[in-house]
């Protein structure tokens, strides 16, 4: 409570706090509340039945499973890309750096069609993989590829500034203390990067859960195998089954919220671990 009485550099704390809350409520909370309020004109048994048909259960698995896999892959390779972009100088670095943002800007449908063309059995990449018995397009693997594509900038762009922030002296200090490269990475660099990496992972993951445009082209959309929940919602709407669509939307909303809340708590824990005793007074 003493906090609010502290002198602040920027004025209007109360005003900006109020504005932020109203703004968020209007933009995020209101539509979601509308969804909840509008939704349930059915009994709980009906709701449960609609939400847990084998086909929808399979679609949850595909949606969240592929999103998780893609986010994990992105966290790993995105970290490497960010590291290379910060720490190494090579010709064309600026070009590559600009390229990272492309998935942000590209219409997702374009990405989906392009990836499908590439990975289809007759495409450039697909024709090389099919003889090896690997089929990507029209399989869950295709979904993962599309989600990796749209998620990579989230990881790179969140981790990059943090890597820039790590002084090279830290690594040198670890080396003089006898640490191997791997020990330096695991004990010194990774802990410093972990919170940002987790943020990037979360962003890529949540983006992948909601992704629709690029996935439907490459997924093949086979029920029980490669059909994602957002697509099921759309097809229900197209059949004027608004109620069914809302049920699925609510389920997705709850699962996403729980997952993101869990990750955020983890993140909060990671960020505060090093300053736990911050409130303790420093003896003079």
């Amino acid at each position: 409570m003493t906090n609010s009485r502290k002198h602040r550099v920027l004025p209007g704390f109360g005003l900006s706090l109020g504005f932020a809350l109203v703004y968020l409520s209007l933009l995020v909370l209101l539509p979601l509340a509308g969804l909840v309020a509008h939704g349930v004109h059915m009994s709980f048994a009906d709701f449960w039945a609609t939400a847990t048909t084998p086909r929808t259960l399979a679609s949850y698995r595909v949606t969240f499973g592929c999103a998780l896999l893609a986010a994990l892959v992105n966290a790993f390779f995105g970290l490497i890309v960010a590291w290379v972009l910060v720490r190494y100088d090579f010709p064309g670095k600026r070009f590559i750096d600009a390229l990272v943002d492309l998935p942000f800007a590209l219409p997702t449908a374009v990405a989906g069609i392009t990836l499908t063309t590439l990975y289809a059995n007759t495409g450039w990449v697909g024709s090389l993989l099919v003889p090896l018995g690997i089929q990507i397009a029209f399989k869950p693997a295709g979904i993962v590829v599309a989600l990796i594509f749209i998620g990579i900038p989230f990881v790179v762009r969140t981790v990059q500034p943090v890597i820039e922030d790590i002084e090279q002296e830290i690594e040198e200090a670890a080396a003089t203390l006898g640490a191997t490269r791997w020990q330096t990475f695991r004990r010194v660099l990774f802990p410093a990067l972990a919170p940002a990496l987790l943020t990037g992972f979360t962003l890529a993951f949540s983006r992948a859960i909601g992704e629709y445009g690029s996935v439907i082209f490459i997924a093949g959309n086979m029920p029980m195998v490669s059909e994602i929940t957002p697509l099921m919602i759309i097809s229900k709407l197209e059949q004027y089954d608004t109620q069914g669509a809302i049920v699925l939307a609510l389920v997705m909303l709850v699962i996403s919220f729980v997952l993101l809340l869990a990750i955020n708590l983890l993140q909060w824990y990671a960020a505060n671990r090093h300053t736990q005793r911050h409130s303790e007074r420093k003896p003079a």
Binding site: A173, L177, G178, T180
Partner: protein, 358 residues
Amino acid sequence: MSIEVKNISKRFGNFVALDDVSLEIPTGELVALLGPSGCGKTTLLRIIAGMESASAGTVMFHGEEATNVPTRERQVGFVFQHYALFRHMSVFENVAFGLRVKPRGERPSEKQIRERVMHLLSLVQLEWLADRYPSQLSGGQRQRIALARALAVEPKVLLLDEPFGALDTQVRKELRRWLRHLHDEMHIASVFVTHDQEEALEVADRVVVMNKGHIEQIGSPDEVYSAPATPFVYRFLGNVNVFRSRVHGTWAEIDRAPEPGSKDEALAFVRPHDIDIQREASADALAARIVHIQAIGPQVRVEVEHQGEIFEVDLTRERHEQLALAEGETVWLRPRALRVFQGEQLVDAQTFDLGAGI
């Protein structure tokens, strides 16, 4: 463990950071690398640590070639100007780091690590901070932790890169004394880089004065201050007045400027406190007019003008009171000690003639 640096050169593109530098540091000695920024002192330190590779030359540790040994095998303790502590680790874990990353066979037990870390923390008098994180410490505390961390692995050589550069004067003074004390206990070879002449003169056994990639002079603090080997050392270490003069065999005539470019052109260097002011003319004194008088701490600085140039004279307070000088009056300057250089070369001129002594 002694350090020997032989004919080290380092180039960054076209820039020559170090030009054929050789230096020997025996065990037990605390050596200061002193010079202006960009003189190559930090580069030399980093080459000794193995963080930078030399373009040419060798580094020997205790007679063994170490030029290509990677940093982590060199057993050097390194202290950085900006501490380079691990932010996400507690003070305890920072100090324990070097012990924890040892190969499994050599790694001490948890109990031994605990004892060693607490011992080091008590050595730097910060045991009570063991559970804190670096962000919760003051600059001076951080640097002491950085030092404890460096000492944890029992380095054979301690290297410090401007260790007190980021600290304020009071803390710096205290840490200096304390570094000296610590070094004497450890019995290792220590090298620290500084651009602060006072720091170098106060702490080091030997001072290495560097300029533009080469060594200007190596000597005890007293030697480099009272008998500078080059004009650069004179100018860099403390204040100095420079008089134009010319050399005549074993005679150096102060204040007799020769034609520019002539062979006997020379410069005479006199420290401000090596000049006395007198009221009477004499053959060994120069006439000058007092421009400004200012008391600075224990002494009084008198700025005088002589032939259009300003010179500084430092008098003790007693002497100043005795003379009762006033601004604007004309007095006579008599140097007690001066050294004459022709170019970079010290001239062994025994007798001085101040020329203008009318």
